[in-house]
Point group: C2
Chain length 234, copies 2
Amino acid sequence: MTGKREQNREQNRLALICAVLDSVAEKGISETSVSEIIQRAGLSRGMIHLHFGGKDNLVQAAAHHSSQEYYDGIEALLQTAGDSPQKRIEMIVRGDLSERILNRRNVSIWYAFRGEARNRTAIAEYSDTRDGRLRGMIHNAFSRIVREAGTPDAPGVARDATHGTLALLEGMWTDFLLHPDRFDRDEAARIIFRFLAAMFPAHFALTGAIRPDQGEADAPPVEAPQRRPEGPAA
Amino acid sequence: MTGKREQNREQNRLALICAVLDSVAEKGISETSVSEIIQRAGLSRGMIHLHFGGKDNLVQAAAHHSSQEYYDGIEALLQTAGDSPQKRIEMIVRGDLSERILNRRNVSIWYAFRGEARNRTAIAEYSDTRDGRLRGMIHNAFSRIVREAGTPDAPGVARDATHGTLALLEGMWTDFLLHPDRFDRDEAARIIFRFLAAMFPAHFALTGAIRPDQGEADAPPVEAPQRRPEGPAA
DNA sequence: AGTTTTGATGGACGATTGTCCATTTTTGAT
DNA sequence: ATCAAAAATGGACAATCGTCCATCAAAACT
């Protein structure tokens, strides 16, 4: 049985970590000072050194915690997915783009840590989506798809599809970071599936979300207000 | 004629900006202090306040400068591209993944600024690939491809292809950030073209670089025809 | 109950931050 | 050569940074 002592201890550790994440999400890493952290956590100054031995270690623990939360979220969603590989991929993609995982707070935290990742290897380790479980899940699913389709060069296609899908998801996150208000989750998912449908028509073409027909305006004729700076034929 | 006075002035301004970028690339944003900057620039402490009115403005100017350099690089490459839209897209993709643009220094700088973008709107403005010229160039090319191919829902496809291509490029950059040593430019390009080839078989399937075969193997007969009908039963 | 043990406190501390300005040096015009 | 204007210098400055420890409070054990 956990004594009241250890219970409080763990509770305060967590409070510090959450305070760091809140501050990073809200004010950014450069403004996340010791004073800011302990004020948010409602604890005393010495706690950081007591529990983590210094601010750097605390920040690292916060990065680890955030990363863990991300993977837990993805895996929780995956367990509700069916068996078919295309369903699993669809679940991962939609999950990764869902409000529960892709939101302002998480994106702020994720990119703040990545910005420092280059110079703090300990943090880089946790901000890598590619390694770890996610890549394995996706690759596994694509391998099955490609195998049962009898595609030539199956391993290469599966590997490239995995790499490409992960890159697309990363790109969508960046999109959200830069334009959180104008970001459209359904559009993001649709684009990814459009690419996947082009590569694996038998597996993704009929998926409900590929075509924008749903509720979306049927191909707005003058959607793109982009100027075209050049180009022979206008 | 520019007097020696103004000439020196401009030279020092630039020296400060470069010092910031060097420091950000090397040490990260959090360790880029005024002391660090003026030491790298070999100038005196007061210069920052003199020329930029404060450190924040200098950092912002550095972000602007870096962004400008990126676009200049892309546009320079584009001018050597041919007329055909697929050639232009290929040039953009390869250029964006080339050593000249995608390298450790640029990636470090780019992501360091992005990490702070959320809390510094002035910087966010410069760290956006999506707005600005790049998106317009790509969308313009895809529009032509889609139009001459007679694809149904042409505007939607062009828009999605643009969005997807940009997301893929972003994702590849993230890949490079996290694994600069194991990153493979050719593989990154191949994956992007594999996706594009799946979407526009007539335009990208025969492109020399889809296969990693090095020898280019001008359109291996086994490869190109088989890619499309993979769907129902291969 | 008393005693030990451990977590928690908050201020002291030196180091470093960015800003600013009195001063010196350099440039361009007289 | 002289002088006004502009640019560059480098140290003073208060504010803030993160670390650490003497002290206190409370839980756990005897």
